[in-house]
Amino acid sequence: MREELEGMWHILLKDLKAYYFKPPNISWGILFPLVLALAFTLRNPEGLADMAPGLVAMAALFGTTSMEAIVITFEKRIGALERLMLAPVSLTTILLGKVLGGAVFGMVIAGVMTLISLLFLNMIIIHSFLFILVLILTVLAHSALGALVAVSVKEVFEAQTLSNYFRFPMVFLCGVFLPVEAMPPPIQVLAHFFPLTYTIHAFRQALAGSFILGLLLRDLVALVLFLTAFLILATKLLKRSLK
């Protein structure tokens, strides 16, 4: 167990150093939330506080899935993923190391967005601990989704295209712009198949300071289940590549 954790840690550090914390990615990580916030400020200056949790969730979604899918697909192409698979660690450990890398990067981008929202969009967080817990589960679940996409395709552009198939519908269905409850019933049902719905719902409760425990637990459990399911599926797909 200790060796698996150690392996995961080294994969995480390597990915951060080799890919995520490169100047172009850092600048994208700061610019993306800035542009996002500015665009919505110009469009709708009054309703910004309402939209802030959605913007943070969106930053987490794009921050994790975009780089994560590129990193894994790139390593598959150059044979570097196979090098990891030669090491004395399990496939799950390799994927967890990769998922953590994407999650850290997503956390940075979502962190910048949170800071902007607090400073300029009048967002107030009543339950900071809950907000951070939801953010951590969100970046982990979406990073695992990025890993699942990456192991199921061969090329970097395929990973990007496939990611967009669910990223953009998620932005519109999961309550970023409009609360899920205000949508037509069939769409409300559909929205519950996406992890981002639970993120935004839980964020709103953390911000408001009042929550129904059952619903909050449902959100947290749903995010954990999505994370687990994505990881299991990604590991199975990676294992299938050995056949």
């Binding site: 150690e6 390597k14 150093k17 080799a18 044979g79 090098r83 004395p88 050995l242």
Partner: protein
């Protein structure tokens, strides 16, 4: 001697394609074992199954008495692999790459710096320690890839084409390193296209063709197996024009290069008689005549059915005979 790798009925199908067909062999502790074969024969698939990158369809292998189907993570702790491509991380320096590998292979933290420095020195990369992998020449990349495989002092090494892409000096120093590793009891399993390299380094060689092992023996025995058919080579004072190949019935697999004729003489006396007659008929002198004992390449060529381009051309000219 104790078997460190024991392969039992190892088989791999890719859909309907049979890539490796129920192969069996053992590799002894401390042995340098060569695995040769033409492209597509099943070498890489075999090595991939042994190192855990491909799951066998049937059969299994035991490495250090552990089953590759059940205990692959444990096996990997004592196994170093040099793939046929140099696939370290372009964005990390030589030092960072080896540090990463040391961490991944559980080298104790206290020993890491010393081990990395030692390997960089051994492979002549100490002055390039701060250079990114992506900026190294292909030869230096190859050296660093090999160093990475040795980071955890493995007792079994798998080399897939170890000297491919290396310059003469680097290839030579790698060969001496392989000999030094053997002295320390490391078992080496290598695939190579360089038959001379296999001849120099390996104690035993298996030749795989179309997924089956066609022979497994020492290089010396493999050469002896074909000594019954010596090669004869004759050099004339000028090229023979309009040579009637019917005059060379005594020589098989004739290869003509400029003014030299080379082939396999089933009967050396008859072959020399025929060549002397050709020299007289074409009014040329015989400058040099030699019988050559088969080398490992001859054994390989005969076993795999691979022939050089010249042989193929000659065969066509003879209407497929020989």
């Amino acid at each position: 001697m104790e078997a460190v790798i024991q392969v039992i009925g190892l088989t791999k199908y890719y859909n309907d394609l049979l890539a490796v067909d129920h192969i069996d062999f053992t590799v002894k502790r401390g042995e340098v074992f060569g695995f040769l074969g033409p492209n597509g024969a099943g070498k890489t698939t075999t090595i991939r199954m042994l190192v855990g990158l491909t799951v066998p369809t049937e059969g299994t292998a035991y490495i250090n008495n552990l089953d590759i189907r059940k205990d692959i993570v444990q096996i990997k702790r004592h196994m170093g692999v040099v793939p046929d491509t140099s696939n370290l991380y372009n964005e990390l320096t030589a030092w960072e790459n080896l540090q990463f590998m040391a961490g991944l292979y559980h080298v104790p933290k206290i020993d890491r710096d010393e081990r990395v420095r030692e390997l960089l020195k051994t492979f002549g990369l100490l002055d390039r320690r701060s250079t990114r992998f992506g900026r190294l020449s292909s030869g230096l990349k190859r050296r660093l890839t090999i160093a990475a495989a040795l980071i955890h002092n493995p007792n079994i090494l798998f080399f897939d084409e170890p000297t491919s892409g290396l310059d003469v000096m680097s290839a030579r120093s790698l060969r001496s390193l392989l000999r030094e590793l053997k002295e320390t009891g490391v078992t080496t399993f290598l695939t190579t296209h360089y038959i001379e390299e296999a001849d120099q380094l390996c104690e035993r060689i298996a030749i795989i063709v179309k997924g089956k092992i066609v022979t497994l023996d020492t290089p010396q025995n493999l050469k002896l197996k074909f000594q019954r058919v010596p090669t004869i080579e004759v050099t004339f004072s000028s090229p023979i024009k309009s040579l009637n190949l019917g005059d060379l019935e005594a020589i098989d697999q004739v290869k003509i290069t400029d003014n030299t004729i080379r082939g396999q003489a089933m009967n050396v006396y008859e072959a020399i008689k025929a060549l002397t007659a050709i020299a007289q008929e074409h009014n040329v002198e015989i400058l040099h005549i030699n019988t050559i004992n088969p080398n490992l390449e001859d054994a390989f060529v005969r076993l795999t059915g691979l022939e050089s381009e010249a042989m193929m051309v000659e065969k066509e000219r003879r209407g497929g005979r020989g």
